[in-house]
Each structure stands twice: as structure tokens, then as C-alpha cells.
């Protein structure tokens, strides 16, 4: 099909689609008039029944905890897919061996970049851990904090160079950490069942509101998500960076 025909077909189909979009959008509540009641109920009961102050975390890890389990496994499947595609095509042995790239050249990095990386990496790491641990109190959680931790380790790559980064982000450690994170979620959900409760039902002691141990099961599975997200994204970065080495040479 030529590009011209394709463009004409798009315009025609878009014009057919527009009335449906308009009809769908006009059925929505007017902007700024959220009708409720689901979100309002969660906002009202979250603090009394779960001792948490961040309701978004409450929805993610408690009220709709099973949905987040599904999301977590989409992430897990994506990371597995990337590792299989890239490492599988390249061969297992080359990926696991960090010593082979000990002398990868540090080309194209200015001292300013190195200094900024070294300065910012530990601060960012600390901030990421803080965001993970305070999920049920202030804005944050395992998903956001995990990505910040991932960013911190990438900053270490800028500051310390490739071989140091490869020693931090070792593929076996990352695989185990990601599996551990997903395992904490799945098994944390099973624990209530041994006490006659339902899967992921929050029967643990709820603790005192606004402390990092409050929320019962929430901080536990949230921490699992943090581990899985950080390790998963690091695995992705590791495999993609290995691709540049495989095609561009490692300069050693």
C-alpha cells in the first residue's frame, strides 16, 4: 500500500472516529466534577481503617492490591522478554562476565559529568530509598522510588565509568533481586491465607499512623515492588548498554 493511500485512509478513518470520541467524551462528567463515590470513600476511610495518609498507595497495595500484582508481572514479563531477546541473541557467557570489560575506555566524559555523577549518585540513592520507605505517608512508593534508585545507579555509571557500574549492576544479582521483589509481593499476599483470611487481605498490625511501619501489609509488598522495579530497570539498562558494546567494541 503506497504512503499516499495510507494517509488518505487515515484521514477518512479519523473523521469517522471523531464523532465516536466526541460522543464518548460528552458522556463523561464535566471536568472538575468528579462524581464519586469510590474515590471519595477511599479518601474518607483510608486513614481510620488502614492508618495510612497516602491514598494512592492505599489503592495500589491494599484496596486494589491484586491489580498491582498484575502490573508487577507485566513489568516482570517485559524485563524477561528484553533479557531473552538481547542476552539470548548475544550469548549468556559474555553478559555474565564483567571482567572482560575492565578497561573499557572512558571516552567522551568530561570531568564535570564525572563530578556531577559522583556527587549526585549517593544523594539520589538516599532519596530513592526514602521515597520507597515512606509510600504510605507522603507521595511516593515502590514504583516511583524504584525508578529513582535506578536513576542513582545510572548516575554512578556517569561518575565511575562502565566497569565499576558493571560490578554494581551484576546480572545475577539483579535477576535475584527482581525475583525476590516479585516473590515478596506474591508470598506477602499468601500469608493472610494461612490465618483464614483472603489473598492480600491486610490482617497485620496496622501500627501508628504516619510512621514507616504503619499500614500492615502495605509497606512490605511496597518494598517488594521497589526492589523489583529498581532491579528490573537496571536489567533493562544493562542489556541495552551491553548491546552498544557488542556492536561498537569495548575499546579494551
Amino acid at each position: 500500500m503506497s504512503r499516499h493511500i495510507r494517509s488518505v485512509a487515515f484521514v477518512v478513518m479519523a473523521l469517522i472516529l471523531v464523532p465516536f470520541i466526541v460522543a464518548g467524551l460528552s458522556g463523561l462528567p464535566a471536568f472538575g466534577n468528579y462524581p464519586g463515590p469510590y474515590g471519595d470513600i477511599i479518601n474518607a476511610i483510608g486513614t481510620p481503617v488502614r492508618h495510612i495518609t497516602n491514598m494512592v498507595t492505599g489503592v495500589n497495595y491494599d484496596f486494589r492490591g491484586l491489580d498491582t500484582l498484575g502490573e508487577e508481572f507485566i513489568l516482570f514479563a517485559s524485563v524477561t522478554g528484553i533479557v531473552m531477546l538481547l542476552r539470548g541473541a548475544r550469548g549468556e557467557a559474555k553478559s555474565a562476565d564483567a571482567l572482560r570489560i575492565e578497561h573499557r575506555r572512558r571516552e567522551g566524559r568530561s570531568e564535570a559529568v564525572m563530578g556531577a555523577g559522583r556527587l549526585l549518585a549517593p544523594i539520589t540513592l538516599l532519596y530513592g530509598i526514602y521515597v520507597v520507605l515512606h509510600a504510605q505517608i507522603t507521595p511516593g512508593g515502590g514504583f516511583q522510588g524504584g525508578v529513582i534508585v535506578f536513576g542513582a545507579v545510572l548516575l554512578a555509571y556517569l561518575g565511575e565509568g562502565y566497569s565499576v557500574w558493571r560490578h554494581v549492576a551484576h546480572s545475577t544479582v539483579l535477576d535475584l533481586t527482581e525475583a525476590l521483589g516479585a516473590g515478596i509481593y506474591v508470598i506477602g499476599g499468601l500469608i493472610p491465607m494461612f490465618f483464614g483470611a483472603r489473598y492480600l487481605q491486610n490482617i497485620l498490625p496496622l501500627g501508628e499512623t504516619k510512621t514507616i511501619t504503619s499500614g500492615g501489609l502495605i509497606p512490605i509488598i511496597n518494598f517488594g515492588v521497589g526492589l523489583a522495579v529498581a532491579a528490573g530497570f537496571l536489567s533493562i539498562a544493562l542489556e541495552l548498554l551491553e548491546e552498544t558494546r557488542a556492536t561498537g567494541g569495548d575499546g579494551s
Partner: protein, 114 residues
């Protein structure tokens, strides 16, 4: 005024779709897919918004203060992170395509012959 967020969502969806249809490069196409995806974020957050209400987080103001819907925020938040991983999966597919077929232009790809 009150329909602008919905119009923005519809616009993002259509412009992303246009990009997908006219793309000559899979990396470009994957970028357009994330534009379509962000249309759903704008739509969801717009549906849950309440005029004059704050964030659904009661760490520094007491529970009971007007707050927006936390459910749509939770949906968007997990999807942004998971979506980034799925985008990386698509990009690694494009990478493998470049390696095996030497092109990532959909028009130049012909069925494989064994």
C-alpha cells in the same frame, strides 16, 4: 474551559495515531505509541479531578479535606512505570530487527523467505 482536558486527551490520541500511520521507522512508531498512551493518562486524571480539591494525601492536612480521586492516580502511576518497561521491550525488538534485517523501516520489510 471545562472541556479542554478532554480535548487535549483526544488530540494526543489522534496525533499519536497519525504518527503511527505515517511512520517510516519503528523507533519513531514506538515514540508515537507512548504519545497515544499519554492520552489515556490525561483522560484518567481529568475524570478524577475535582475543582478546588487537593491531592489525596493527608500527611499535612487532616483527612476529610476535599481531595481528588486516588484510584485514577494509582492507575496512571503504575502504568507510567510499567509502560516504560514495555517501551524498552518494543525498542529491543526494533534493535533485533535492525540486526537481522538491516532496516527498521516497515515499508522495506518484506516477508521472510527460508
Amino acid at each position: 474551559m471545562s472541556i479542554f482536558p478532554y480535548l487535549a486527551a483526544a488530540w494526543l490520541f489522534l496525533i499519536g495515531l497519525y504518527g503511527v500511520v505515517t511512520s517510516r521507522d519503528y523507533v519513531y512508531l514506538i515514540g508515537c505509541l507512548t504519545v497515544i498512551q499519554s492520552a489515556t493518562y490525561v483522560l484518567l486524571l481529568a475524570v478524577g479531578y475535582k475543582l478546588g480539591a487537593g491531592a489525596p494525601i493527608f500527611a499535612d492536612h487532616p483527612p476529610g479535606t476535599p481531595a481528588v480521586d486516588p484510584v485514577v492516580q494509582a492507575l496512571v502511576l503504575t502504568d507510567i512505570v510499567v509502560g516504560a518497561a514495555v517501551t524498552a521491550l518494543l525498542l529491543s525488538l526494533a534493535l533485533q530487527l535492525q540486526k537481522h534485517r538491516g532496516t527498521i523501516d516497515p515499508d522495506e520489510l518484506k516477508p521472510t523467505q527460508d
